[in-house]
Subunit: 159 residues, 2 copies
């Protein structure tokens, strides 16, 4: 009787100790970059390159994304300076609201963006697009709704 | 005559090739953290810990700084969640302006904060305090005026 109870306990306890925690199908990795929208790309580049002495890329037009980008490379991650390109730049409205510029979004790496989107939706964190797009680094990205992320625009990048 | 001219050229060229570029007395290193001010610390913690699956610290009261902090540790850097503590929290005004929360500042490491402040002032980048203070990590920090940094509040930390 005791042996049977012990077996039952073992078989019962399993689902609650190991099997009941579903294995996470995706995980978050590095903080890929912090994006800063600027109203003067030349001045912003000078601040990071000449004043702070950081290693800074040339400006790169990203016509698919409506921005110019300048990457400021730190030892562990980067700042991405964004400046509007074309008439319907996605950062135009942000710069109207913040004429001096400001922190625009933060980008986190995930190892499986589709699994991440599915899982986040279950937690009521809405992606701005149902499917990932190809981002400025040539990798799949998705933006999450700031209202679901404490007022912060969060980009996920598959890396 | 030619040898003398050559010598002159060599001696003249030195100041312009090596000696005229003053050696930088300080340098910028890692991006230490991105700080996010939140209006609900519990919800924000849940987003990063339970939804995104990141490693998250317990909330820590920082009475000297008027905030609670929660550190979200990524592989390469961290996000610092800030929530007001006490009546005169330095993030109170920011949260009034951004009731859902938002990106508050970015912190860059420097190897010599006093040399950095002196050098930045020469480039018209104003520190908010003339002398560094001891920050939430127990290290000397200084904030730079957002108007001098493309609308971004930049913290420097000696590390």
């Amino acid at each position: 009787m005791l042996a049977r109870f012990s077996r039952l306990l073992r078989s019962r306890s399993l689902p609650f100790s190991t099997q009941s925690v579903p294995e996470r199908l995706w995980k978050v990795g590095r903080l890929n970059h912090v994006a800063i929208a600027v109203s003067n790309l030349d001045e912003a580049t000078k601040l990071y390159r000449d004043v702070l002495g950081a290693q800074v890329s040339d400006p790169m037009p990203q016509p698919d994304h409506g921005v110019y980008t300048v990457f400021v490379n730190f030892e562990n991650t980067k700042i991405e300076l964004l400046y509007p390109l074309g008439e319907k730049s996605p950062i135009e409205k942000f710069l109207q609201k913040n004429p001096s510029g400001g922190m625009h979004h933060v980008c986190l790496e995930v190892n499986d963006i589709k699994a991440a989107i599915e899982s986040l939706q279950k937690h009521n964190v809405r992606p701005l697009n149902p499917e990932p797009k190809i981002g400025a680094h040539g990798k799949p990205v998705v933006f999450l709704h700031p209202k679901d992320c404490n007022g912060v625009l969060v980009e996920l990048e598959e890396a």
